[in-house]
Amino acid sequence: MPKLRFGKGGQPLTDSNLLLVITVSIFAAMYIISMIAFGGGFLNPQQFLNLFNENASLIVLACGLSIVMVTAGIDISVGGVTALVTVCCAVHLQGQGGNVPASLILALAIGVAFGLIQGLLVAYLDVQPFIITLAGMFLARGAATMVEVNPITVTHAGFAALRKIEIRIPGIGYYAKNGNFINSKIELGVIIALIVLIAVFAMFKWTRFGRNLYAIGGNSQSALMLGINIKRTKFFAYLLCGGLAGLGGFIYLLHTGSGAVTQATGTEMKAIAASIIGGFLLSGGVGNILGTLFGVISLVTINNIVVSMGLKGPWWQGITTGAMLCFFIVLQSIIMSRRNGGKAVRPIWMRKSREIGS
């Protein structure tokens, strides 16, 4: 297979960017085809923006997971932490009459605490990340039930005002039934999520820490020989992921306005799936954070398509999501093996240095 060449210098496309291009083009194709085939809601810019409005917290969580996954790790506690954060913040705002800044700090503190413990155990005690973050998930969900079993709706005045903040985009919108032009809106959570996304992108691209993450995920042995402090880098990756999970939980509460133990069930797997669709490999060292964003919106667009196709059975969403995941995963596998000269994808320690990195 001839190497794809792009831009100046004719440099071959890196693995990360190739996977990003695939994800973006498949999302674009999927969306354009549904615009033509179903019309209706898909032509409404508000429905497109709702993909973001409803999944702002998932974007933040998936960013955190991408950071961990690029180091060849995993964190499945993020959904549990989200639930714990929604419950704790709701209790703080509603039951104890707290204020909004304190609740945000509380959310971040919970997330950072989880990231701290998991990071310490994974990086310095060399424990399997899967097991320890699994325990983290149990811990968070269990703790949430101990804080409050019943769902709480937050009616706190300051928080309600914060929830109402929305940005109308001039020029883009739709005509309501009475003929008025309504500008499309995005919620506050989306702004935060996009800021996080840009920050993580910049971190991956231009900071030493970000490059170190790719290095230890690609080949931790040679990273060690280059003088990178693997343990500290891993620790901060988990810490960051925990902090983002806390922030994601706050955004989740901002969107739904209620705290409950059952919130964000299965979100950890959704976030992992989004990162995978976005081009992150679980073996580490490969991935582009912009892909994660497209992973999230592809994952939810498929649900909209299922609804538009009129498949009413409650099982269709699960099955189509699985099928799409299957398609992406197999596609990635085939492309990666074709790039490696028709052979199977080689394990981390056998890859050439060119193949590692962004």
Binding site: L125, F138, L139, M146, P314, W315, Q317, G322, A344
Partner: protein, 357 residues
């Protein structure tokens, strides 16, 4: 002396699960001396059966122990885990219900013999195992990601296969598999588990299964150079876990005589992986000990029963305490702590040697 050393090394892996099981037992005995009393009671069906916490641990831990067998083999050969077992149990349950009940929600008589239902659910579970196995072996996808597909879709597929309804089986013979056979005082799941353990032990003893899975897990490339087919062996482990899923799914359906697709065997994949880890097996593949995993499974079950019997622990908050114990266990058995302990022991030996000199 060398023989003893080899034996020690072989069983050193079982130390952590054994110790943790022992710790759970001792704590129980201190808190409640009557915890392990075994009683012969007459149950609703008029059979005299054993009852007590030990029986309940062994009984309810059956599914987990059976799954732990398959999970150990998958872990050993592929260096990854199958996270779709819970969802596959939902599919297997859906198949059992569909075969036995057809389209009726509560049939008066079964539509097919039970053995047919079992074979069908075995076939379907192996088919989905084969799907996972193909993704892992042929397409070289990491097991956790490959099985994420079925993890996402499995429960929906189960609901679909089951005909979109939650049927209920009222046949008494069907309930024997998750309850008691008349005249036998031991719960049937325990007997089934013992049969499964015996089968795997015999297979490991008399076939090359152990050797081949371990060599593929330790170094796939050299296994291939030595004439093994790593693809087939990885595929085979996924077929075996398919059978394990079918058996434990069948027990699970028989216990409840129905299937709740969204909640049947929830989080069991996590517990099964945990059992493998507590059993001292490396999650990165290679050498394995089935005994360790089974002990791990019963340790988890014993822990759950113990936690339930503690005052102030509700069914909601049990996960919190479980997580604390897991974190403690995993930290103790982490490589860093192990190395530290062996270093201290080495130092002590040196000191003793110096004193002797």
């Amino acid at each position: 002396m060398p023989k003893r050393k080899a034996l020690m090394q072989r069983y050193a892996q079982l130390l952590i699960p054994l110790l943790s099981l022992l710790a759970v037992i001792v704590i129980n005995l201190i808190v409640n001396p009557a915890f392990f009393t075994l009683a012969l009671r007459v149950n609703n069906a008029g059979n005299s059966v054993f009852a007590g916490n030990i029986i309940s641990i062994l009984d309810n831990g059956s599914e987990l122990a059976i799954l732990a067998i398959g999970m150990t083999l998958v872990t050993a050969a592929t260096g990854g885990q199958d996270i779709s077992v819970g969802a596959n149990i939902a599919i297997a349950g859906g198949v059992v219900l569909r075969v036995l009940c057809g389209n009726e929600a509560a049939p008066a008589s079964l539509h097919a013999p039970i053995i047919v239902a079992f074979l069908a659910c075995c076939a379907v579970a192996m088919l989905f195992g084969a799907f996972n196995g193909m993704l892992v072996s042929v397409f070289k996808i990491q097991p956790m990601i490959a099985t994420l597909i079925l993890y996402t879709a499995g429960r929906s597929i189960g609901y679909w296969v089951g005909g979109g309804q939650i049927a209920k089986i009222s046949d008494p013979f069907f309930s024997y598999f998750g309850g008691f056979i008349p005249g036998v005082p031991i719960p049937t799941p325990i007997i089934i588990t013992i049969a499964c353990i015996a089968a795997i032990v015999l297979a490991l003893r008399f076939t090359t299964l152990r050797l081949y899975t371990q060599s593929v897990g330790i170094n796939e490339k050299s296994a291939r150079l030595n004439g093994l087919n790593p693809l087939w062996i990885k595929f085979l482990t996924f077929l075996i876990i398919g059978v394990c899923v079918a058996i434990s799914g069948f027990i699970k359906v028989s216990r409840m005589s129905t299937v709740n697709y969204s909640s049947i065997a929830q989080d069991i994949e996590m517990d099964a992986i945990l059992a493998v880890a507590i059993g001292g097996n490396a999650l990165g593949g290679g050498k394995f000990s089935i005994g360790g995993s089974i002990l791990g499974a019963y340790t988890i079950q014993a822990l759950m029963v113990t936690l339930y019997s503690m005052p102030g622990v509700t069914s909601e908050s049990i996960r919190f305490y479980k997580a604390l114990v897991i974190i403690l266990l995993v930290s103790i058995s982490s490589p860093v702590v192990k190395n530290g302990v062996s270093k201290i022991r080495m130092l002590r030996k040196k000191d003793i040697a110096r004193e002797v000199v």
